[in-house]
């Protein structure tokens, strides 16, 4: 809210540090320049959307009274017929009359203040109502009496009823919307905006002026349906002040007379001449002390609150009529804390918890650290997905049916992601666009299927940075190795099996199995998807994070006490046989401790259609030193078994 300082000064003496005073009261000063304050008013304090509201706060804090006050009202008498059909929507309606005004431009002082406050001057009558709204916080609406047929009725709109509002827009109404009507038609949207054909123009002579209290929810609902927001609706939906309604009416009528001439009818219609007083709130000082952690003496509450318009007596607090936000005890204590000053509240630190501290996300955090240690960069793509990215998946695949956004930020990204892979591809694309070719990335985050699930996914695209010792293009074995190492470091007893998953290229896809359940896949990402990001090859994995819970406990394995014997064996593996066929046989050998594939070779000296694979086998007996003969026996056994399968030892 913009507020000219000279206007405020008309109401209250400003201390030197009034900007800090306002800040400390929770009235955020967002800007202050050219004599205009820009204030952030929180939705609970509609009373502060006015000069008098801000002035009251400053007066309360400095202890100096307001320089002026406006309280006078007109007596109730018949001015013009008013009927309120919807009493809930409009608990109080007042209407006054001024005759013989001369509509024209406002005087300079009024126009300028309005402009500084961010409101365009229109004509002296309308401007006077806006002026009073800014001054007292009560929105008002003037009608041209000539244009009102017979009476004023406050009622719900009828289905299909139409109104052309002051902004020139024709709007169709429904019974959710509260309107002001005359005998024939709606003449204003209650608390929101008037109709074009009932408003003030050059010809207007007599002005019916409305000042009312409308139900905040009703106003909000109406303006939401119609999708408009005005200075009036902004105030009404935050809650008006039922008591100030007639005060503002009289003040505005008198101001109109001042700036537009005419004769005010000394009286008003009022549907609620005697509103109920504010209900007292019971308080207990011991609770206040407990809640705020400050020392409070019984008399402090009175001393602190009364300058702000509260009345405090016998453990009861009666809030001022304009404070709609004070209903229960805690509201009072907030007020006490605010007036006392948050800056004066002492700081207390208690760090011992009575309960053991836990974090179920610890394993995931560790997993992220392991992956980054394996050379991958963690990324945070936006979790919205283009459904076209997964349109190639088979009909029954649940990843095809992302949960749809009603109001997507980007029209094409209108579902919540069901897989992390497209997000990683988009990150790869972004980096390729920025001349980064070595892309090793991962994400641990949620996908949104019928339930939210945490996935861990990674991607290799491009090639290693070129140096004198590196520069390879990434391939299938990079992603496979990364997953193997990751799961090993996480102590998860996994097994990789040839598998099919539609997100991955057939034939280069492995399933990650733990305890006879598949937790995800790795391999080359399917061409249909990768091409959408103009990437040639991408190797990735996507695992369900629940597999982290299957980790094995850390266990001390006694170090071997006896030496091992190592044998390197090369085999000619014909097409149709796989590395695994050899490994399987080697692993059957007694005393075998481990086996590594140390060389894979095709080409010179190797017959067409064969691959030479060299295995380094380590044998060890746990309780004694193995003899060469024993190992030799095992080696011969391996060679014999493989020969049976058509895999020959490569003799050098």
């Amino acid at each position: 809210m913009k507020l000219p300082v000279e206007w405020l000064e008309e109401w209250v003496e400003l201390p030197q540090d009034f900007v800090d005073v306002l800040d400390n009261l929770g009235i955020g000063v967002e800007g202050y320049g050219d004599g205009v304050l820009d204030l952030e008013i929180t939705p609970n304090r509609p009373d502060l959307l006015s000069v008098i509201g801000i002035a009251r706060e400053i007066a309360g804090k400095t202890g100096k009274p307001l320089k002026k006050n406006i309280e006078a009202v007109f007596p109730v008498r018949n001015v013009f017929p008013v009927e309120v059909e919807d009493k809930e929507g409009c608990p109080r309606y007042t209407l006054g009359l001024i005759k013989g005004v001369k509509v024209g431009p406002s005087p300079e002082w009024m126009a300028r203040r309005l402009e500084l406050a961010g409101i365009n001057p229109i004509n002296n009558v309308v401007d006077a109502t806006n002026y009073v709204m800014l001054e007292l916080g009560q929105p008002l609406h003037p009608f041209d009496r000539e244009k009102i047929k017979g009476k004023i009725v406050v009622r719900r709109a009828r289905d299909g009823e139409k109104i052309t509002t002051l902004d020139g827009v024709e709007r169709e109404l429904n019974p959710e919307i509260l309107v002001i009507a005359d005998a024939e038609r709606p003449v204003a949207l209650a608390g929101i905006m008037g109709a074009e054909d009932s408003g003030i123009d050059e010809e207007t002579r007599d002005v019916l002026l409305e000042s009312a209290y409308f139900d905040p929810i009703r106003v909000r609902r109406g303006r939401k349906i119609l999708n408009i927001s005005t200075e009036a609706s902004y105030r009404f939906e935050r809650g008006g002040d039922v008591y100030v309604v007639p005060v503002a009416l009289r003040r505005a009528l008198e101001l109109i007379r001042e700036v537009a001439g005419g004769e005010v009818v000394e009286g008003m219609e009022d549907t609620l001449p005697e509103p109920e007083g504010r209900k007292p709130v019971k308080i207990s000082v011991s609770f206040g002390k407990r809640l705020l952690g400050i020392e409070i003496k019984d008399e402090d509450v009175k001393d602190w609150l009364e300058p702000f318009g509260f009345r405090v007596e016998d453990g009861k607090v009666i809030p001022p009529r304009w404070r709609r936000d004070i209903h229960e005890e805690v509201d009072v204590w907030e007020e006490v804390a605010r007036i006392y000053g948050y800056e004066r509240v002492p700081s207390s630190v208690r760090v011992i918890s009575s309960e053991p501290v836990y974090d179920n996300g610890k394993i995931l955090r560790q997993a992220k650290r392991v992956l980054s240690g394996l050379g991958l960069f963690e990324v945070y793509p936006i979790p919205f997905m283009n459904p076209e990215d997964v349109a190639f998946l088979p009909e029954e695949d649940e990843r095809r049916k992302g949960r749809r956004l009603k109001n997507p930020m980007w029209p094409e990204k209108n579902v919540m992601r069901t897989t992390l892979i497209p997000g990683l591809l988009s990150v790869a694309r972004y980096n390729l666009n920025h001349q980064i070719r070595d892309i090793r990335i991962f994400e641990a985050g949620k996908v949104f299927l019928s339930e939210e699930r945490i996935k861990i996914a990674g991607l290799f695209v491009g090639e290693e940075k070129k140096t004198w010792y590196s520069g390879r293009k990434y391939d299938f074995y990079d992603v496979k190795g990364a997953v193997e190492e990751f799961l090993t470091l996480m102590r998860i007893p996994f097994e990789l099996r040839d598998e099919k998953d539609p997100l991955f290229d057939e034939g280069t896809c492995l399933g990650v199995w733990v305890n006879e359940r598949c937790y995800g896949y790795l391999g080359e990402i399917k061409r249909e998807l990768v091409e959408r990001y103009e990437i040639e090859h991408a190797y990735g994995f996507e695992l369900d994070a629940s597999l982290l819970e299957l980790r094995e406990p850390e266990e001390f394995v006694p170090l071997p006490r006896f030496p091992h014997i190592k044998r390197d064996l090369s085999f000619l593996v014909p097409a149709g046989k796989r590395c695994e066929d050899v490994l399987r046989v080697i692993r059957e050998a007694t005393y075998l401790e481990r086996v590594e594939v140390i060389d894979i070779y095709r080409g010179k000296n190797i017959p067409e259609g064969y691959t030479s694979m060299t295995f380094s086998c380590v044998f060890r007996h746990p309780e004694r030193t193995l003899t060469d003969d024993e190992v030799e026996h095992e080696v011969q056994e391996i060679i014999r078994k493989l020969e049976d399968e058509g895999i020959e030892l490569r003799r050098l």
Binding site: L292, I294, K368, N407
Partner: protein
């Protein structure tokens, strides 16, 4: 066989004796003890001897092998030290490949760790929420004007993307009885287009402490301790009155600007202070809603922006950096 061994011994010792350089010594070693060396050859041939001769031959050969090995070592000590081939130490080393955690993960971890040290446990909640948990249970019923401050993403199925991490407060209090001391890091969403200070996706860390007599003073002290741990001892915290429907009293948490130390700079818009969180005492309406008596139990809650804190910590001036995922950005901050 014995003769053969004796002859070989003499030959071997002479060979070693005559050696003049390390290179010659290595050649001699290989010719005797290498894979195809003479001694190695003899050892291999033991198997071909008649069984009764094998033990003696084995013993002698082993003794010979040991003796030759010793002699070689002795000789090696008498020879001038060989200078190794000089290497070019200026060639860059072979660097292992390393990755990095995203800065938001790292800051979030730091925040979580600080609060865990203060006795807070960590809870998590769903990102797709119901209107009830995101608003209503947090004392923000339909048609509450405070809803205007949250531009919400809605799903076609009627749910929404949580606009803050505060729904976790409700979910935890529904499940567990006080005393409760929890934090909850996580992602939240608001319909704010990308600009230097807004992102439709962002992260928060929610905090909640409910106990017999948790006070506003505890809230202030806890946040102050947090600020000092994260940004250094001289850091100050200021609570400024504010409004949130689900806390009362409510406050904004302002941190003394870590860049200019309150002198005023571009980052703090020359105010000396930066806003990092919202907080307050849990509103009685919220407690009642989950069946907790607000006169028996009091509590505080806060929600802080992880991006905001990361930006202050690293001096980042554009929130979009976190979501563009330029690897140079992530690498540069590790």
């Amino acid at each position: 066989m014995q003769d053969k061994i004796e002859k070989l011994r003499e030959k071997a010792l002479k060979l070693i004796e005559d050696v003049k350089s390390s290179e010659e010594l290595e050649r001699a070693r290989v010719s005797l003890l290498g894979k195809k060396g003479e001694i190695t050859g003899l050892i291999r041939s033991i198997g071909k001897l008649p069984p009764e001769e094998r033990p003696l031959a084995g013993k002698l050969l082993n003794a010979l092998k040991r003796e030759v090995e010793e002699k070689i070592e002795e000789k090696r000590k008498t020879l001038p030290k060989v200078r190794k081939v000089k290497i070019d130490t200026s060639i860059p080393g072979r660097r292992p490949k390393t990755g990095a955690l995203h800065p938001l993960t790292r800051i979030e971890e730091e925040i979580v760790d600080i609060f865990m040290r203060m006795g807070f446990s960590v809870e998590y909640g769903p990102e797709i929420e119901t209107d009830y948990y995101n608003f209503t249970a947090l004392n923000t019923p339909e048609h509450h004007p405070a809803r205007d401050l949250h531009d919400t993403f809605y799903l076609e199925d009627g749910n929404l993307l949580r606009t803050h991490t505060s729904p976790v407060q409700i979910r935890v209090m529904e499940k567990k009885k006080p005393p409760l001391r929890i934090i909850s890091p996580g992602r939240a969403y608001r319909f704010d287009p990308f600009d230097p200070s807004h992102s439709p996706v962002f992260h928060q860390v929610e905090g909640l402490w409910v106990d017999r007599d948790v006070s506003f003073s505890d809230l202030k002290g806890t946040l102050e301790a947090f600020g000092k741990e994260l940004f250094g001892k001289e850091t100050r915290i200021k609570l400024v009155p504010h409004y949130f429907p689900f806390t009362e009293p409510s406050a904004e948490v302002h941190l003394s600007c870590p860049f200019c130390k309150e002198k005023g700079c571009r980052v703090c818009k020359y105010t000396g202070w930066v806003e990092i969180a919202g907080c307050g005492m849990v509103h009685p309406e919220v407690l009642r809603g989950v069946g907790i008596d607000p006169y028996q139990w009091t509590g505080f809650a806060f929600g802080m922006g992880v991006e905001r804190i990361a930006m202050l910590r690293y001096g980042i001036d554009d929130i979009r950096n976190f979501y563009e995922n330029d690897l140079r950005f992530i690498e540069g901050l590790r």
